[in-house]
Symmetry: C2
Subunit: 314 residues, 2 copies
DNA sequence: TCCTTTAATGCTCATTGTGAGCATAAGTGA
DNA sequence: TCACTTATGCTCACAATGAGCATTAAAGGA
């Protein structure tokens, strides 16, 4: 199993997420157009420690919870890649935003700057209508009835058009559909000749290479995970009110939640415990402050079992 | 972002799974001690196509559904690794077992040959008792009360000792605990000096390098995924009875399921439809045969929502 | 032929979980 | 004091789930 491959580099890329002022944010370089990244080097003990060291070096930001996202290596992934091939290992980190001493160009930008169609907290965002219009035109442009119908089905499904429900988890799917439809700047950069077009809708800020796709992958992952693992707490200060907790979840999911039922869920699952402190600056009745019960990470409740297990004799 | 790293190889490793004769199986080389793998080469269009081509070349087995598992690269991962570093990208493939024209040394082995403590279909397997005994001795050996108590808590939690429930998904966690406790042959290979010991329990067949850990990762993933995505059908022939379907799920989960409720779940979720055919060789009343409704992959029901979404005005 | 065994299939019932929304409490500022 | 805002408690209908009883339909002897 000795290899004789072409030269190859491994790159580490980090999506570092935080929530502040009710906005989910990502840590970026170069004023918002790229994610922290760097080569995997021999000094690094592991991929994870490599990611930590690159992020800390480039942004001066310490990382908390971190998990592997995905490994990307399509041949035509990078523009202007020379003879070397690159494998990129993406990581997702969750932290608190921390502003002291940032490196130049480093900033925290709202996810929704890159994916404006993803924020449904006030209902469907205004950018959605022109996007759906452009997708419909894309479907119409298809050659052949079958392909036309298929394109229509796909975009309606992905964006929850008509009676279909909006599924907040399908971030990557929606991004890739827009990419395929030529509505994403990165796609036009890669396949010159397809011009923006006068009636092309705004589809968020672009990023370098495929960083925006990696961000979409991270959002997809986080929106899914938040439902079955207590990861929100990595994004919150040590104590918080139920409203702050709910707003963090809402920011990530891009959805409004039912307040009383959200509270009931927290109570049932015993994820938090009151600190005894009371927050008075609520704009209404004072709220209790809570803290995350770290013990639940050890108890590790197994989400919702979907298998009808047989218990006794059968 | 030009890199000047040490030479690096990327290796692709596949866990190819199937279910036959009520046993979950993995496709192996060298009579069961290694997984199909090979370097990522410049001819490969993508990581995925590289995996396909290596598996097909080494085993003569075509692959169906395939997904990325994890990327491994700890510095001390490989024994006797020279100056080059290796990144391994693991993939999980689901297929039907196919026996014509296998390459020499290629075989399908039950998962439970490598993880005998994981099959709880007939209740806790006999190997479990001596393993728990050895884990208790490992806990006792700890220096300091706190460490002793912590070890005890960890193994009891992972293996569902006492009142705690057995969680079939924690395959990797259990494997790593046994590894840490020095009860896994691979661990002793890596850290010589720790001898097997007379009363060391049987802990399954070993594999080359860390292939067994990759297999554990794959089982963990599959056991989790089977609950919220219709992936079992990739492991079944085009038509099947409810019992065959249930037994495939049971084989993977290593658990017995409640027959009537399993059936009800299938009916509710509309995952299958009757073919009209009747299977008579059941040993009892004849059973209807069903087929998977491929359309559900397009409908893509969003599993169980765990967020209390607000629908109307709030 | 009738009885026993083995599965397949249908159905019930208690319990728990979820969606929606009413009602009350306890602050703030006019 | 009133209007307004958020916090918190609680109810009610309905869906989902765990357990298990009951019936149906085949095979294989006695």
């Amino acid at each position: 199993m000795v290899s004789t491959t072409a030269p190859l580099d491994a790159e580490l890329i980090a999506v570092v997420a935080a929530v502040t002022a009710r906005m989910p944010r990502v840590l970026t370089l170069e004023t918002g157009i790229s994610l922290p990244s760097g080569p995997f080097e021999s000094v690094h003990r592991s991929l994870q420690s490599g990611v930590r060291s690159w992020v800390e070096r480039q942004t001066h930001h310490p990382l908390g919870h971190i998990e592997q996202l995905y490994t990307f290596a399509d041949r035509d992934r990078l523009e202007n890649s020379g003879p070397r091939r690159v494998i990129s290992v993406g990581y997702l980190a969750l932290t608190l935003e921390f502003r002291r001493d940032p490196a130049p160009g480093v900033g925290w930008w709202s996810w929704y700057r890159y994916f404006p169609w993803e924020d449904h907290r006030q209902g469907p965002p205004p950018v959605l209508a022109p996007i759906l219009g452009a997708l419909e035109r894309w479907a119409t442009r298809a050659s052949g009835t079958a392909e036309r119908r298929e394109r229509r089905r796909r975009y309606r499904h992905a964006f929850g058009v008509g009676g279909l429900a909006w599924n907040e988890e399908w971030v990557l799917q929606r991004y890739e559909l827009l990419y395929e439809a030529g509505l994403i700047a990165e796609a036009r950069r890669r396949h010159p000749g397809t011009e923006p077009g006068r009636d092309s809708p705004p589809t968020g800020e672009a990023m370098v290479q495929d960083h925006r796709r990696i961000l979409a992958t991270a959002i997809t992952r986080l929106r899914a995970k938040i439902k079955y693992r207590p990861v929100v707490f990595e994004l919150l200060p040590p104590t918080f009110t139920y409203l702050e907790l709910q707003q963090a979840v809402e920011a990530i999911a891009g959805l409004r939640l039912h307040k009383q039922n959200f509270r009931r869920l927290m109570v049932q699952q015993k994820l938090v415990e009151p600190t005894g402190a009371i927050e008075v600056q609520t704009g209404g009745r004072p709220a209790r402050r809570y803290r995350f019960r770290r013990e639940v990470l050890l108890e590790q409740a197994p989400g919702g079992a979907r298998l009808p297990q047989a218990k006794g004799r059968i």
